[in-house]
Amino acid sequence: MTHEQARKLIAQLAIAAAVCAGVHAIGAGPLRTRALAAEAELASFIDQHDMNAAVLADLPRVVETRQLTDAGVRRFASRNQPALDESAMFTQVLDLAAQSGVSVEQVIPAGEGQRDVTLPAGAKPRPGDRRTRYTLVGGGSYGATTDFLERLQGDWAYCAVRQCRITPDYQAGSGGAVRFSLLLELFSFDAAPISLTPGTEGAP
């Protein structure tokens, strides 16, 4: 075999090998990569699927828990309302006064421009956390006033009586009537679901 023939033979062999390698690189190789990626995705999906199936089995308990949570959230929403809505607060306070038999003559927001009082240090506020103060001035019998105070500290709102001043109502005669001046502090607490994505829970 001459050198020329050997050279041609080697060239043909190289061409054949290059064709094979090219076909593999263009066709079979990427196809293989895609198949392996799909199989990896499938394996991951199956793992996820198994986990989801386990969750599905616990779903009744989850639903029950959610119902309790929702009830709690509704309770918060209801008691938050007076702190968030002045008109609602006014209506309910007058209702309570009427139920107790006292008359509320004045409802004074505490400090113009300072109606919203920031939460104390150490608290972790959320967008819906809020507190406001009002002064109520009125009169009634001592017992009615006591009952009014009790109702104010009831579950109509998150209401704290910060100050209560009671004096005899000398103008009303000897009927046991008293005058009262109350400083109320109303709170609202944000019970909205928190974001499970880290970093998205913002300050108010």
């Binding site: 054949a16 066709g27 699927h49 989801n52 639903v63 009790e150 910060r162 009671i166 909205a192």
Partner: protein
Amino acid sequence: MRGRTRQVIVEVSPTRHELAVFEQGRLIGHRAARPAEELGLSDWPAILRSLGAELENWVPDLGVRGEPVIVVYTGPDTAASIFDAPASAGEQRARLAAKLAMAGTISFPLEQNAHAEICIFRDGSAREGEQPKLRTLALADTEATILSLAMTLERSGLTPTGFVPAPGASLAAAVHALRCSAAAGSPGVVLWIGEHSSVIAGGEGDRLSFARLIPVGTETMVEALSAPVHAGRSDNTIALDRFSARELLFASGIPTVDGWSDRTTTIDPSAVLPLLQPVLQRLVVETKQSIRFGFAPEQRPRVLLRVAGPGASISGLGTTCAGGVGVRFVQGAAPCASPQDATLGDLASVVALGWKAPSLTTRDAATKRSLAATRHAIVVGASLGLLAIGAHGVESWQRLQDARATLTLLAGGSETASSAVRAVQSSVAAGMGLARAEATRKQLFGAETPHADILRALAALTPEGVEITEITLSDDGEASRASLRGVAHAGEDMSDSDRFSAYSAGLAACPLVLGTTLGETRRTMNSDHPSLSFNLSLQLVALPTGARTAAVDGQEGTQP
């Protein structure tokens, strides 16, 4: 030749050129000529020129232009021989041994010239004390001879595919004829008589005892007959030319002392017989020697002699040789011998071998064949590689499709599970929001002063004679206090200070009061009764939100 229905054979020798065309094994065309001038093997160029001239006419006549051709030739440097090797060595080693042996017997370098080694016979048994042998036919010729022959044929429009040395073909054909005719327990000898050489092959059953090539053929006899002979009973001498001598030999056969078998021949047999005697004697002696060394003494009387090849058609040759050797002669051709034996020259051996004669090829052709085989291997390898890649791709594609199908299947079924997971996540988020709100509520609104209970307790604990003028309750989220401003009046049974002390003690004993602090007191007269006005601070308890309980019996309080 396998798979072809048409075979073309060219025979080349110093004494005869022939072109034969076979179809389905039957002779359908035939041209033969003998060179006009006497030529020897040393006149190889002249032989080829003569052949070329003949082929110029024969090829178009027979319509074989471009056809593949087997060439049976007798060349100046042709070498053929059979070499033995133990059968246990295997064919590859036997061929290598034959090649080495052949290289030692020729005058030209074997590797640079055309050669071939073919195993033609394997002993099925062996004599006691010996082991079966593998008989390898080794052929060799110079590249120049083969190339010149190839070029001559190609110039004539033929395509030579194999070059069969006539001695090698004769050896193979003799062994083949012996194999076909041999019977177990009956030793036999085949005397294959060619034009320029003959072969003596002997054996018994499945064992070959010997196969020897001897340089005596029909042309040797023709040459002997060309010497001057006496014609008839006269003293006239005539010298036959080769053509006439050949015609006399094949037409009248071998004469005996009693005369010719062909009565029409007028030449004195006693004059011809001495001419042939040396040739016949050579055949007889060679055969006798072969039998003597190839067979055991007890086998020799049972040896049967058969004559095959072109010389078989010479009348009386077989009986003469058998008589001379002292063995029995079996008339007739071997069962598988070709019917063309008698009419054709050395190409009869190719026919007898069923077109599978051992052949040589030029180194260039061998290289081309090797290159073609390598290219074929590359193509096959590349095809297999591509096939494997294709299979790999198909398998990958199938796996991809399977994975996608499974993903699609699972995706549909997992929608519910995914929504459940979302529900869980939502529930967890809501729960955590509620828990945080609750925690803030407890932090800011965890405890409160039970104002109503304090007022009720004050109402219950304030006795007659004590008048409260102002009650102030305060709760700053950290501490709860009550500030009482009032007047204690003196009575008939109790002084104002005692009344105040009792009142203060009663308040201090109240569970809602953690402690009392006396503030400013002042003695006054009220309607001529001494009175004590006072300021009293109470530290109150704070209860958890919603846990207020009546510290004292709840009753509609009256103004203290």
